[in-house]
Each structure stands twice: as C-alpha cells, then as structure tokens.
Symmetry: C2
Subunit: 144 residues, 2 copies
DNA sequence: TGAAAACAGTACCTGAATGGTCCTGATTGC
DNA sequence: GCAATCAGGACCATTCAGGTACTGTTTTCA
C-alpha cells in the first residue's frame, strides 16, 4: 500500500506537541504520552529515534525532557521518514543492493527506480512538519 | 523504508518484456518467467493481478498468453502500484479509516497526510513504465 | 472427441519485518 | 543519597507480504 510505518505518524504527532512547549522548556516522555494518548513506551521509543537523528534533544535528570532542535517549519518530512523508516528507497533492487534479487542479469529496470526515488524525495522534501501540523501553506505545491 | 512491494518491481519487469512481443502476439507466463528469470508461479500471479487491473489481457487456450492493452508509454506508474499495492496512501490514519488508531481524538495530524499523498501521487503519475524501461525521457522531471 | 496447453481463481503456508513492551544502565537535580 | 528522567538495547507477539500449490475453465490441435 506504499505505506510508511506507523511510528512515523506518531513521530509527527509527538513533534507537533513538542512545538507547544515553552521556549527552552522541555516536555517529558510520559507527559507527551499523556498528551497524545499514545503508549508511554512507544512515545519514548519514538523520541529516542528522533533524538538519535538529531531532530530533538534529550535532557536527562530530574527536570529533564525533550526539546526541539529546530522549528517544525524548518524540518522537512523527509528527515522524519529517514530517521524512522530509514532512507527513502522504493525497492531493494536499487543502486548498490547486489545479490538480493535473482533477476539481476536479465532485469531491464535494474537501477531504473532511481528517478522515481528522486521524484518522491523531492516531492516530500518540499513539505515540512509544520505543514502537516495545521498550516497547509505550501503543502502539495511541491510537485507543481 | 517507504518501500513498495517487490511484486510491483516484478510487474514492471514483466511489462517491459511484454512490450517486446509481436504485434498481436502473446507471451505465455512460463515464457515470461524464463525470460525474466523469475519463478513461474510468481510471474503468473503478477500477470493475474495486472490482468485484473486491466493493464494486460490474457488469452486462454493452447495458444494463449498475455498481451498489453496499452503501450507502456501510456501506462503511468501509479496504475501498476495501485494494481498491486493498492491505493496510494501513506498511512492508515487517513481519511476514512476510523477506529484503527487510538489517538484520533487528540491527534493533530488527523487527515493531514492527504497533501502528502497527493504530492507523491502527482510525482508518480508523471512517470510511465516506458520511462523505467530504458527511455528516461521525462523521468524525475515531474517534481519540478 | 479427447488430450494438452494455458489462463483464472482461490486457498494455504512460511518468513520477515513492524509494532509494542520491558529491563538495565547513565545522568541530572533535589 | 534518592528520585526522576533519558539512553540503549533486548525481547516477544502480531501482522502482512512473498511465495507455492491446487482446482477449474477455456481454447487449440491431433
Ligand atoms: S534487479 Fe531485482 S528485479 Fe530487477
Ligand atoms: S489518527 Fe492515528 S495517529 Fe493520528
């Protein structure tokens, strides 16, 4: 179904909530879980991944929590997808993956998916998380 | 990984081979399997799906086989994806799917993925199978 | 008329990947 | 020192795609 993982959706939700934090203030994982209605472990997992990708910053300790490193408007959707779902590549039979496919020798589309990947990547990079959060200012305009 | 199913890749391969058939001539599923190097049951399955979607036409009988209903240049990639992977929708939390998600009430991106879906759909609809087969004439230009 | 070839449809099985949970450690503040 | 929180990893269950097999129907040829 060309679906991306549900965690990516959760990530967008969490990021949107994080935007509402005070300047310099942090939100805790349990707090975000309560605010979003998602499970605490799941939210924690998402935040860890995002932290690893540099999209959020975790502060430990008693008064710890998570904080956005950049405003959502400057955070393209591709970053979130790449952080959770991995690099954007439609098929396994792309560029360097040799040996995974049996039909490499006679395959006529060997490496031909690259333009498709680029097209999608480009379409997605024009959309920021802020566009999904509630301000569809330039969403869907990237492909025009 | 934002991957689409491997069957879609196979479909493109098979369709490309089908293009090489004689005018009015048909290619059999076993023949295509041998030409592509894929398993016969798998090729058969792909062809059945494509036939069901109207992209190819199957002729039964001893001299039966499959035939393209349209030239590859007039076959957008979205048709193939929609035929095999189903409709293009990034997440399950889109439009009408109610009840699948727990955070519907507080979810700020509820239904916000639609512009993303449109963007991808638009980027993909500009690419035909012929573009992937070996003539990247306007591939990747759809997003510009 | 019979047999063979090929598509059509369905049903089942297996494997991998996602989604989700939990546990243990490191760090910070009170 | 204690509590709270993040960090990291391991673990299990579920789901779904991928693949296979079977049966039925249609057409051609001997
Ligand atoms: S290389 Fe895998 S199907 Fe083309
Ligand atoms: S409705 Fe499911 S996460 Fe938003």
């Amino acid at each position: 179904m060309l679906r991306l993982s549900k965690l990516t959706d959760y990530a967008v939700v969490v990021l949107t909530r994080l935007e509402e934090a005070e300047e310099g203030g942090v939100l805790t994982a349990p707090g975000l879980a309560a605010a979003t209605g998602l499970g605490e472990p799941t939210v924690s997992k998402v935040l860890k991944i995002l932290s690893h990708a540099g999209l959020v910053e975790g502060r430990r300790g008693a008064l710890g929590g998570y904080r956005l490193t950049r405003p959502l408007a400057a955070m393209p959707l591709t970053d979130v997808i790449a952080a959770i779902d991995g690099p954007i590549a439609l098929t396994a039979c792309v560029d360097n993956s040799i040996g995974v496919c049996d039909a490499e020798a006679t395959c006529p589309v060997r490496g031909r998916w690259d333009p498709v990947n680029d097209a999608i990547r480009r379409a997605l990079s024009g959309i920021s998380i802020a566009d999904l959060a509630g301000a569809p200012q330039r969403a869907a305009l990237a492909a025009e």
